[in-house]
Amino acid sequence: MDMHPWLPNLNQIRQMLDVIGINDVDELFYDIPQDILLESPVEVGYNKPLSEEEIRQRLEQVKQKNRKLKYPPFLGGGACQHSVPSVVKFIISRSEFYTAYTPYQPEINQGLLQALFEYQSLIAELLEMEVVNSSHYDWGSSLAEAIMMGLRINSRKKVLLPKSINPLHKQVVETWLAGKEVNLVEIPVDQEGRMDLDFLDKLDPTEVSSIYVQQPNYFGVWETEMEYIADWARKHNIVSVAGVSPISLALVKSPGELGYDIAVGDGQELGIPLNFGGPYTGIFATRMDMKLVRQMPGRIVGMTEDVKGERGFTLILQTREQFARREKATSNITTNEALVAIANAVFLSLLGKDGLRELAEEVYKRSHYAAKKMELVGKRKWRSDFFEEFVMSFEKEYNKIHLHLLNKGIHGGLKLGPNEALFCVTEVHSKEAIDELVESIGEVI
């Protein structure tokens, strides 16, 4: 290999070897047993190094192999498409941010630290909870970590998960808790599509470590007894965990006001493209209660002062973390989703108090407009009020409807049962798109 833009020293090898005092680069690997040294290069990529032009051509090909849709998909189930402000992309394209490392040297990374502190602060206002870490991988891992935090706090063995939560989140929890001796108990759904509170009375609460509730729930339905659940948990020394959609918090009570111990969620709604599943970011928050905070997983930025008494920011409570505490750490997490958290901060700063409410209202309105229209071609499964997502039942098999829609370049909702699907409608779905969706379904019903 002669020259390569990413390998600057290919023509300085001789000079470098001379300084080291050896004759060949291979001598540097003298300590690798001969029989495990590769004899020939491993074939990767398309073999020859591709130029940018060729890489772009290949990626264009990839795009062509995907199907172009006429409108944003009406898919939710853990991620709904929202509009992404240009400013958000612009800021996270600043390579002082995106090529930085975890700010272990605070003096040279004040901007990054302050941006993360602002993320924590803005999420804290939204949740009305004081302590927010600077991100987990996604909602699922935040939830798993919250449950593990509960286990550390009260050493009980049961965890209550309603059937109305996102099943993918539940799957993640199941995977992550495989190493813990814990019993995941499912709370059934009532006739309104909400968690069945009667179930709580049938339990021995002293065995319960934590209880989780998702608002709005997987079916888009508002859980109305949020406060009751938090009170119940508090009464029994159970750790209460709320899962929230950040946008909806402009309309409904925050986990902080409701008295939850921990809140989790995903920041994807706050200025992050769908990205075919990631990067997103897991929100994780708790109250300013040192019993909780000391058990909190993840990185936290705090405010302090420098030697001259000037305000500064630095990572705090690092003794909880793996690099300091190893097997005693509150989590193994190190790389998180910091840049996505900054994107969230920019998004929340842009929309602000009024914008976020306007956005939530618009999402509410469009999803209700769509649901109402949909009743012309199907039936809403739950009558309860909802936000952003709703479940429809059809007379026809949903697969048939789905394929008909796809033929028209429209991606319908997420199939939940043979005749049921969960639809997500946000501010990116125009009236025209919604109308065409409903009409198209009408064509096969």
Partner: protein, 496 residues
């Protein structure tokens, strides 16, 4: 910049982004019990103010695009700009779309799985892990599941004492008891110690190779043999793969499982802490335990979950945007380029060592051994002779336009300075870094007090960590700051 917090801006009645609105007649009726009454205390700012604020913050940040970041074990290589263009192509695909509509995306994942398997000498990979430690944790869960399959109780996980902190943390999260294996005087796994602890209780052994001292575990095949003798699983921490990429493969050394950090070895930017992207790969014995991955059937790609899978590691498919970045990176280097990565990064490390070898006050364990991706110097002697610590050196480097090395890790080296130059720093920069370090050490001997106040060229000076962490002054958000300011913070808030 002396930039206030975004929450301290005084704007009112402003908005920075226009919400698209359709003319729809729908009354908003949130059930009374849950209706929010107080708007969240978010800023009210115009687009200009938000742009300006965060732009100024970005200028007060330091990334590898601005200068060398010799952070050991972090592999802060240059992130080619084509990656950013590449990542954009997948912005608008929903993770739950009908698989027939995202065959291109699945093909990318499939190709990456193949390439990574080949590079590691493994059979199969899953890209569902969003970061390295998640990959590690997946590996632990696979080991757990493996033994469970045979109804064995295996409670212990062996970890080298030079291992990254994530290793024991992941093992503990997976419910294992961590047993540390001491290094010998050469900085390598002590085979006798290993023999002493290995037994029917051992689930597996987590190892990085080259290890965190940059040294290759030359007895790796012997170690594998010992672990496999009790049907333990040998786990490879891929964080240090860069130094041997294209030289040797974990699979050929006897490892059963490996996680990779695409954001280290494969050029994905670190994002100021994240997002990264990971992979978890396994050999024939362990591949059925992997999280879901993409399989190819004829011309069709689809996600499958192998028969004994540990299950879903993340809600969707991991950080696909970053997989695309790594994809562009591998395409751009190709076979020959990738095979030069290990060579050139190892060359850079040993070049730096040669330049620093004779610096007074800095010592090397096993100085006669070549390092691979990184090197750890001990500034213990410097500290004894001048009072200047590894911490002081780190801060002094900041003043000289460099980021600091990783310090005080691994714990077995006192006053450790862990330096990883990577293959992407031009030799002139390596020279400048060596010169800066020498100059700092010279200064330490001449005028140590001059170093104790650094950094001085940064936007703030050394920070008060006590104030930062003390329960009475702990300020993790603006909400807490307001409470402190309002003097309404009382003990009851701290002690529930």
């Amino acid at each position: 910049w002396d930039e206030p917090l975004i929450t301290e801006y005084r704007g009112t009645g402003r908005i920075g982004f226009m919400v698209p609105k359709e003319d729809i007649e729908v009354t908003i009726e949130i059930p009374e019990k849950i209706r929010r009454r107080n708007d969240p205390e978010l800023p009210q700012l115009s687009e200009l103010e938000v742009t300006r604020h965060f732009l100024r913050l970005s200028q007060m940040s330091f990334g590898v695009d601005l200068g060398m970041m010799p952070l050991g074990s972090c592999t802060m290589k240059y992130n080619p700009k084509i990656e950013e263009d590449s990542a954009r192509i997948a912005e608008n695909y929903h993770p739950l779309q009908d698989e027939t509509t995202v065959q291109g995306n699945l093909e990318v994942i499939y190709e990456m799985q193949r390439w990574l398997a080949r590079l590691t000498g493994m059979e199969e990979c899953s890209l569902q892990v969003p970061a390295g430690s998640a990959g590690e944790f997946a590996g632990i869960l696979m080991i757990r599941k493996y033994h469970k399959e045979f109804n064995r109780v295996r409670t212990e996980m062996l970890v080298a004492d030079t291992a990254h902190g994530t290793n024991p943390a992941s093992a503990a999260m997976g419910g294992f008891k961590v047993i540390y294996i001491k290094s010998n005087s050469e900085g390598l796994v002590d085979l006798e110690t290993l023999k002493g602890v290995i037994g029917e209780n051992v689930a597996g052994f987590m190892l990085t190779n080259p290890n965190t001292l940059g040294l290759f575990e030359e007895n790796i095949k012997k170690i594998a043999e010992l672990v496999h003798l009790v049907d333990g699983i040998l786990y490879y921490d891929g964080a240090n793969l860069n130094g041997i990429l294209g030289i040797a493969r974990p699979g050929d050394m006897g490892f059963d499982i490996i996680h990779l950090n695409l954001h280290k070895t494969f050029g994905v930017p670190h994002g100021g802490g994240g997002p990264g992207a990971g992979a978890i790969c396994a050999n024939r014995k362990m591949k059925d335990y992997l999280p879901p991955y993409v399989s190819r059937e004829g011309d069709v790609y689809r996600f499958v979950s192998p028969p004994k899978s540990i299950g879903r590691m993340s809600v969707f498919h991991g950080n696909f945007g970053n997989v695309l970045r790594a994809y562009a990176y591998i395409l751009g280097l190709g076979t020959d380029g990738i095979s030069m990565v290990g060579r050139m990064s190892t060359l850079a490390t040993n070049y730096l060592i040669s330049k620093l070898r004779d610096v007074r006050g800095l010592d090397l364990i096993a100085p006669h051994r070549f390092r691979k991706h990184e090197v750890v110097f001990s500034a213990k002697r410097l500290k004894e002779e001048t009072g200047v610590t590894a911490f002081d050196i780190a801060k002094a480097l900041l003043d000289r336009g460099f980021y600091a090395p990783t310090i005080y890790f691994p714990g077995i080296i006192e006053e450790a300075l862990m330096i990883e130059p990577t293959e992407t720093e031009p030799v002139e920069v390596l020279d400048a870094f060596a010169d800066a370090l020498k100059e700092i050490v010279d200064l330490a001997y001449k005028d140590p007090s001059a170093l104790m106040n650094s950094p001085v060229n940064t936007s703030v000076g050394r920070l008060d960590q006590v104030k930062a962490n003390h329960p009475s002054t702990l300020t993790p958000s603006y909400r807490v700051l307001k409470q402190i300011k309002n003097q309404i913070r009382d003990e009851s808030r701290i002690e529930r």
